[in-house]
């Protein structure tokens, strides 16, 4: 077992060595520009890109003609949201999203607002799921796009994507999903789910950083987006720029591996995740955040009350995890995702996200449980809040001095 242990696979995943192996020739020998149509170097590159396009398409049940390569999910989200708004704004200027979306979606929506668009940010229920009745009520004849993520990056909650898509379509709007955390982890099928646009990224599924894709539906309806980058008209004019051939080859290979191994891996990871979760919630005053049924197989987000997340992470320095606490930021605001579930600030500050992955072993999970339990116990002995709780003092009755 190598220390420190990496349990932050929602932030990024290590690259699978099989992916690297597939990529290497495209840096040196097969270095051609995929747009060079007049010689063999270009053809070899183009062939590799075409193959990768098929691999990506297959993972999400799409046709290869519907895959646009980008620099990652952030670019895909931006291209989808801004691109749809610009293309369809004569039809309507309203977009619906949710408060728990990734910043790439929320900030792209803010940009749309600056361009004269209207955006509704749906609140979520206590378990992190979008309220379908609220979505339905928010739809207007002006609504052109509903953008709701597939699986949440902080709490792993899986949205009822199919139902959301049906509501969007009923009102004549497109449905887009940021599926960065879900693709390759759980079965995603753009046709079965009714997805019109989908963003994904290679580095969240054991591929390289700096490459991703946007799925854009071609039939029923034929979706168009306005390009956000002008240039040589690559990717059917939707995303200009010389293709990142090695990266694209890596993304394709990563998708292929996910198709082959997803089912068994999801089973293995959800069992490990459940083990971790039940071992840690044995601790007094610890809570799992987000819906526990509709959830990605590899994510557990747990709040340990009366202990601050950053301090806790320091006590678990052998574990690479993430916290919803924001003690490092100037604002001191904890995670907006956790807050939107109705968590109090102190509980949001007390959260730790464990993100398991393909290379996580049972031994590592056992070790993580041991280290976390020890750290929580140690820090609670240091915590005045824990002492007050143990003495039965109501913390809400105290007049805290704001800082």
């Amino acid at each position: 077992m190598n220390i420190p242990i990496y349990l932050d696979n929602n932030a990024t995943t290590p690259m699978d060595p099989r992916v690297l192996e597939a990529m290497i020739p495209y840096f040196t020998q097969k270095f051609g520009n995929a747009a060079s149509r007049n010689h063999a170097f270009g053809w070899v590159a183009e062939e590799a890109v075409d193959y990768a396009r098929e691999q990506v398409a297959k993972l999400i049940g799409a046709s290869e003609k519907e895959i646009i390569f980008t620099s990652g999910a952030t670019e895909s989200d931006n291209l989808a949201i801004k691109g749809v708004f610009e293309m369809y704004k004569d039809k309507g200027n309203h977009i619906i999203t949710a408060v728990t979306e990734h910043k790439a979606v929320l900030d792209a929506c803010k940009h749309v607002e600056k361009m004269g668009g209207k955006v509704t940010y749906l609140a979520v229920k206590e378990d992190g799921l979008v309220d379908l009745a609220e979505l339905e009520a928010a739809m207007t004849p002006e609504t052109i796009l509903v953008s709701i993520m597939y699986g949440n990056n902080e709490i792993g909650v899986i949205q009822p994507v199919k139902e959301i898509a049906a509501i969007a379509h009923k009102h004549g709007a497109l449905f887009m999903t940021d599926a960065t955390q879900a693709v390759g982890k759980i079965p995603v099928d753009v046709n079965a789910d009714g997805i019109d646009l989908l963003a994904l990224s290679a580095h969240k599924m054991y591929g390289p950083k700096g490459v991703g894709a946007l799925y854009v539906r071609r039939k029923g309806p034929r979706v168009k987006v306005t390009a956000q980058m002008d240039g040589g008209g690559h990717e059917r004019g939707m995303r200009s720029g010389t293709l990142n051939v090695p990266g694209i080859v890596g993304l394709g290979k990563a998708c292929e591996l996910c198709i082959a191994e997803m089912e068994s891996e999801a089973k293995r990871l959800s069992a490990l995740r459940d083990k971790l979760q039940s071992a840690l919630t044995v601790l007094e005053e610890s809570y799992v955040n987000g819906n526990v049924e509709h959830r990605l197989p590899h994510v557990a987000n747990i709040s340990f009350k009366y202990v601050e997340g950053e301090g806790l992470m320091m006590a678990m320095k052998d574990l690479a995890v993430s916290s919803g606490s924001a003690c490092t930021s100037a604002s001191l605001e904890p995670s907006y995702v956790l807050k939107s579930l109705g968590l109090s600030d102190d509980l949001a500050h007390s959260s730790i996200r464990f993100g398991l992955g393909r290379f996580t072993t049972e031994e590592e999970v056992d070790y993580a449980v041991e280290v976390t339990k020890k750290a929580v116990t140690h820090l609670r002995e240091l915590s005045p809040l824990w002492e007050m709780f143990k003495e039965g003092i109501d913390l809400n009755s105290i007049e805290w001095a704001e800082h």
Binding site: A326, T328, D345, D346, P384, A401
Partner: protein, 137 residues
């Protein structure tokens, strides 16, 4: 964020963790911060008849810097007169622990906790609290 060795040392081996008898007139308690901000610091001092701090204890809910700042504060308080303790400046803590700029807040909290503990002691013993006019760095 990379912390200094001193922060890590105080964090890993916190000095003077504990609780003094809050009801004793010899003890001053300062509780500052708020759970929603992610930091709560409780600092306590025990004062003898010569106005010298004979013991100091802390408990802190917060990040590594907050814990280290309060641990260091208790070390500095022990053996100091009340008047000298009042002079502890948050920037002294920042320098000693080499706190990164984003963590200066933790040192401010520690200075405020010291002053709050001293004032609690003063009020308990029939003295006026000392108003701090200082603007924090």
């Amino acid at each position: 964020m990379a912390y200094s060795d001193k922060v890590i040392d105080h964090y890993t081996n916190p000095r003077n963790v504990g609780t003094l008898d809050k009801s004793s007139h010899k003890v001053g308690t300062g509780l500052v911060g708020a759970p929603e901000c992610g930091d709560v610091m409780r600092l306590q001092i025990q004062v003898d008849d010569n106005n010298v701090i004979t013991d100091a204890k802390f408990k802190t809910f917060g990040c590594g810097s907050a814990i280290a700042s309060s641990s260091l504060a208790t070390e500095w308080l022990k053996g100091k007169s009340i008047d000298d303790a009042m002079k502890i400046d948050n920037m002294d803590i920042v320098e000693e622990l080499a706190l990164p700029p984003v963590k200066i807040h933790c040192s401010v909290l520690a200075e405020d906790a010291i002053k709050a503990a001293i004032n609690d002691y003063r009020v308990k013993n029939g003295l006026e609290p000392i108003e701090s006019e200082k603007v924090h760095h």
